[in-house]
Amino acid sequence: EAGVVQSPRYKIIEKKQPVAFWCNPISGHNTLYWYLQNLGQGPELLIRYENEEAVDDSQLPKDRFSAERLKGVDSTLKIQPAELGDSAVYLCASSLGARVGTDTQYFGPGTRLTVL
């Protein structure tokens, strides 16, 4: 069974440029998560989707970050414009969607963003 797929794996951009990350969850997983992982820290939730609906986006900085999950499968996370402090690893995870509290989340390899 294929795992969570993310692309690109690495991205280097200059500040003020836009950037987008793509995630394809495990087939059949209804819940999709985007996490931010800063160096030396654990992942922190940015947004959670149940199918195509964003049900928890309280931690997403909406002035520059946006996300979408069209048709309830693939998802894209965008930053526009990027700032130096956005340099981090962006992780996507998915789970079956029975209940967040008891679901096991499966993580992708992440996209390492460097903003110069």
Binding site: G40, Q41, G42, P43, L45, V100, G101, T104, Y106, F107
Partner: protein, 116 residues
């Protein structure tokens, strides 16, 4: 807000040594608990989880963890480590609620280095 503390930032052991990594959380209600591992160059993967029942849970690769409710702790253990256990280990907690906004909170991680 809940928090998860992993006090050991970097642990260095020789092969065959015993391992215990600490994890404490702050939340007074019912929680589910997880340990995730990230091997060098790989994605986060689930090592073990505790939802209910026997507070001593066994995971993959000989790891186990003990939930001590009175101490708000969920320490990870392995009796004899191998070089292949070199990785970063993350404790994660999700408080269970009736309101649906359950969120997985990670600790800052412990980097484990095993010396052959």
């Amino acid at each position: 807000a809940q928090s998860v503390s992993q006090h050991n930032h970097h642990v260095i052991l020789s092969e065959a040594a015993s391992l215990e990594l600490g994890c404490n959380y702050s939340y007074g209600g019912t929680v589910n608990l997880f340990w995730y591992v990230q091997y060098p160059g790989q994605h986060l993967q689930l090592l073990l989880k505790y939802f209910s029942g026997d507070p001593l849970v066994k995971g993959i690769k000989g790891f186990e963890a003990e939930f001590i409710k009175s101490k708000f702790s969920f320490n990870l253990r392995k009796p004899s480590v191998q070089w292949s256990d070199t990785a970063e280990y993350f404790c994660a907690v999700i408080p269970l609620s009736n309101f649906g906004n359950e969120k997985l909170t990670f600790g800052t991680g412990t980097r484990l280095t095993i010396i052959p």
